[in-house]
Symmetry: C2
Subunit: 220 residues, 2 copies
């Protein structure tokens, strides 16, 4: 299914990427409409991941009470409570053979294949992620996948005009407690606030700081 007419022109993409910034002050009265938010949820779910394993859980924090509990675990940043929706990106820790099998079953069901026909692929994943090279640092590997989701989420939001602020300055273990993630084997890695910038956010008008292309990009 080719798109002969791309949905966005390169110039419009660039305008949106330049429009986005790490929003410091959200307008707490501006909520993301349900249909817009649903699309952003879909963008999270559609995030690509290595092998397709999706080693993650996305927590959408709408509860004011929970936001208040997370705020002191986030350097008291106002974005936590002022944003429309807060996303917490958690990983499934210590992936096991059962996780791989669950994914293989999901693949078989979705595509109408047999689990047996996918055994080669299954064994390749197991021998890498569960017992092989990636197993030595499997939680970091999973965290990297969650960061693909973070990047995808921020760009998806930007192109439809939704503001975001990535939040690495959080206490992941504290988040895990508030969100009761540990018993299920999940662990917080990063968060991202979404909503709409306040008219008063002076950061919106600051010039974006990026190294010149010649410093960070090399054509070989």
């Amino acid at each position: 299914m080719p798109t002969l007419t791309p949905a966005l022109s390169p110039n419009d993409l660039l305008a949106q990427l330049n429009w986005r910034y790490a929003t410091k002050q959200f307008d707490p009265t501006k909520l993301i409409a349900d249909d817009v938010w649903e699309t952003l949820e879909d963008s999270l779910v559609l995030t690509p991941s290595s092998y397709g394993l999706q080693p993650w859980l996305f927590l959408i924090i709408k509860s004011s009470e929970i936001k208040e509990q997370l705020k002191p675990l986030s350097w008291n940043q106002n974005q936590i409570t002022d944003c429309s929706h807060l996303v917490v990106f958690a990983i499934k820790k210590n992936l096991t053979v059962a996780d791989v099998d669950r994914f293989i079953e999901s693949t078989a069901t979705t595509r109408g294949d047999s689990v047996e026909s996918l055994s080669g692929y299954r064994n390749m994943i197991v021998s890498d992620v569960v017992y092989g090279p990636r197993s030595f640092n499997v939680n970091e590997w999973a965290a990297r996948q969650a960061y693909i989701a973070l990047g995808n989420f921020m760009t998806s939001a930007a192109v439809i005009g939704v503001d975001t602020c990535p939040l690495e300055g959080i206490d992941p273990a504290g988040y895990d407690k508030v969100l009761e993630l540990q018993p299920e084997g999940f662990a917080t890695v990063v968060a991202c606030a979404a909503g709409y910038r306040s008219d008063d956010d002076k950061y919106a008008d600051l010039k974006k700081v990026r190294y010149p292309k010649s410093d960070v990009l090399r054509v070989v």
Copy 2:
């Protein structure tokens, strides 16, 4: 600078995210036009990063000779040689005070501030990334930032109708040698092929495998 008219409707975004897939077979005759590619380079440069530190180098591999050298270091995947542009995401290893100072100078120059007025911010970064909590795993922290770039890149490409294939199955140390990254303190973390899908790529028509939203997303 608010955008009252977002560049893309939620439905169009969703269509593009569903259109994208990990392209297995690129059409080697279809090259990304220069102006389109330039925008994708810009999207890489504009990627947000923690503190704004941009601990990365993006290598754009256009040389057929280099692609041929990288292919055996990438499970001989055809995407390496058939794609239009191959991006290698490298991190700056073991960030130092000099890296932070370089960023602070860049910020001061861009925004017309003095370096002195940014000393509080500078010291906060140094005490975290160089000497503090993040310093214990600073290369993994940098790798996570590179994965934000990967996510941003794939989504940016998708919304303008460019195909990509993320490539984690590579030999990073082998890449470092071919690209002569080590002497400069860079290290490969992941790659991504970009171009246009071949009409023959049967993977384009396979149903996307994702867990149901209810399995990977929880509203709190």
